[in-house]
């Protein structure tokens, strides 16, 4: 970089930095105008769930360049763990109208599910992926598909192959009026929880020592270990966090839709993966952005009567991005490795 271009460089960077927020605001305004408040809130809610799952895909890819095909199933298992805790341990079978009790139950549900799924994720990494750390990249990829099947079969064994209902703890009737439309508190709760978790993750990655170790390991593993970073520990923490977030998404999914099924991870998992790619795989902010983008595309398709085409449109988008912009909206991950 030549020094004389420094000032124009700063201006350009500023413009580039503003392009994204302006784009997002414009996109949201347009969506709101086209979809109306109801559908807009639906899209935000769906996007929040996709984003939580997409984060796990992107974090793991960022750090070991593995597309963890089992991650969607970790999300699915999370939804079943949440179901088990909610109905069997806490004895819920419907909504709770007593606010302190509701808050307590939801808190316990989140804490336990996130904790359990974080451990499950770390265990999967330890047993299935770490032994293959020095193997060709295809080996862990195939293993991931195997883990995906194992998780599906385990859940099928215990809960059966059909759709099962999950207690919707937050009463669906609770709502607020926004500009003449009824917005369920449940949706706002889902959105707020996800945004909070994503914000916490960003803080963790940018501010803590472990977060810095995660960033340097994803940039250059060898150089990072020469700084004294324990690579195995860092990778394990990445799986802990990604799987914990998928667990949170599982809780949210159950509360919001009131059901789950063993094949949930395949469909939603693929969409979350698509979200990660659209945002720029390896980039956490990108994954969140991609999650919301896909939700808006899907909800938009249904709003115009093409609901059955939602999946096709989303995956076409995936193909288009892979062909024309493989680094995604925010990604520069592949470029960095030159």
């Amino acid at each position: 970089m030549v020094t004389s271009s420094a000032t124009t460089g700063t201006a350009q960077r500023l413009a580039a930095g503003l392009r994204l927020p302006i784009g997002i605001v414009a996109f949201l305004a347009l969506s709101l105008a086209v979809l109306g408040i109801d559908q807009f809130v639906n899209a935000l809610t769906l996007g929040a769930i996709y984003a939580l799952v997409a984060l796990g895909y992107t974090m793991v890819y960022g750090i070991i360049e593995l597309i963890n095909f089992a991650h969607g199933d970790v999300f699915m298992v999370g939804s079943f763990i949440a179901l088990f805790i909610s109905s069997s341990l806490l004895g819920n079978d419907g909504s709770i109208t007593d606010l302190p009790l509701l808050a307590g139950s939801v808190l316990i549900l989140f804490a336990l599910t996130i904790g359990i799924m974080a451990l499950v994720g770390a265990l999967i990494e330890r047993l299935a992926y770490r032994p293959l750390r020095r193997a060709p990249k295809l080996a862990p990829l195939i293993t991931a598909i195997g883990v995906s099947f194992i998780l599906q079969n385990i859940i099928q064994f215990f809960f059966g192959p059909t759709i099962v209902s999950v207690p919707q703890l937050v009463p669906i009737e609770w709502s607020i009026q926004v500009a003449g439309a009824r917005v369920p508190l449940l949706n706002l709760f889902v959105i707020a929880t996800s945004v909070l978790l994503m914000f916490a993750l960003q803080l963790f990655i940018s501010r803590t020592r472990t977060g810095r170790a995660m960033r340097t390991t994803s940039m250059d593993r060898d150089a990072s270990s020469l700084m004294g970073v324990d690579i195995n520990r860092t990778i394990m923490i990445t799986f802990l966090i990604g799987s914990g977030l998928a667990g949170a998404a599982g809780v949210v999914h159950g509360l919001y839709y009131g059901n789950t099924t063993f094949s949930l991870g395949f469909q939603s998992g693929l969409k979350a993966f698509t979200a990660a790619v659209l945002g720029g795989i390896g980039n956490t902010a990108g994954a969140a952005l991609g999650g919301f983008l896909i939700a808006f595309v899907e909800v938009g398709a249904s709003a115009f009567g093409y609901g059955r085409w939602g999946g096709a449109i989303v995956f076409s988008l995936l193909v288009i991005f892979l062909v024309f912009r493989p680094t995604g909206l925010l990604g520069s991950h592949t470029g960095d490795r030159a």
Binding site: M1, R212, S225, M227, G228, D230, I231, D336
Partner: protein, 237 residues
């Protein structure tokens, strides 16, 4: 007294490729030692094996008489071996300051670390000027300075330098070598891998010639520089 760093008959493989075929060398306290050889001789592999990035299949690696060959790379850094790797490998998207902070990753931040920031900025005033610039946008020479500075932030007893002159203009090479001398005079032992044999032999006290994974010659640098075989093969005379 046991040497600071000692390799005995170290064998390293890349898959089926026998990269190091019994490398033995020592680095004593306060010494600059150089390892010279052509491309593919195993210089980088030797350094990577010392740092634990590659596993030695047999032989022994000792730091102050204690075996380190079973240790993980991050443990080896803690024991006092700093490594400025081939190709510099700075963290491109992080600032110069963040890169140096990563160098001190294992240390508690405090006045000691601040003092080392000062020392590194004294050695490399250029880095001070670029403190907040993303490392990936700097020139090759500046990145080399950063890679060395970053390794120093861990307060190593031995500093492994892999081709610090690679891709640099001659004037910068002189500058980097002056700085290596300065670092050494402050008490850090240096194991220097170089293709620029002329410069390396001028700087180091002792040298090893590495050929196809084996040490074929070891001597004081003044003698190596006079050896006709060395002159022909590495000095282009």
């Amino acid at each position: 007294m046991a040497p600071l760093l000692e390799l005995k008959d170290v064998h390293t493989y890349y898959g089926a490729v026998h990269a190091l075929r019994g490398v033995s060398l020592t680095v004593d306290e306060g010494e600059i030692v150089t390892l010279i050889g052509s491309n593919g001789a195993g210089k980088t592999t030797t350094l990577r094996t010392i740092s634990g990035l590659e596993r030695a299949r047999s032989g022994s690696i000792k730091l102050k008489g204690k075996s380190i060959q079973a240790a993980e790379p991050h443990e080896i850094v803690r024991l006092g071996i700093g490594h400025s790797p081939e190709g510099r490998r700075v963290f491109a998207r992080m600032s110069v300051r963040e890169n140096l902070e990563m160098g001190a990753f294992l240390r508690k931040s405090g006045p000691d670390v601040q003092k080392d920031f000062k020392k590194v900025f004294e050695l490399f005033p250029r880095l001070k000027e670029r403190e907040n610039q993303a490392a990936g946008t700097m020139s090759g020479g500046e990145q080399q300075m950063l890679a060395i500075g970053r390794a120093l932030m861990a307060q190593p007893k031995v500093l492994l330098l892999d081709e610090p002159s690679m891709g640099l203009a001659p004037i910068l090479v002189e500058q980097i070598f002056d700085i290596i001398r300065e670092i050494n005079s402050r008490g850090t032992a240096v194991l220097l891998v170089e293709q620029n044999a002329m410069m390396a032999l001028g700087l180091a006290k002792r040298g090893y010639i590495l050929q196809i994974g084996e040490v074929t010659l070891e001597d004081s640098c003044s003698k190596l520089a006079k050896n006709p075989k060395v002159r022909e093969a590495y000095l282009g005379v």
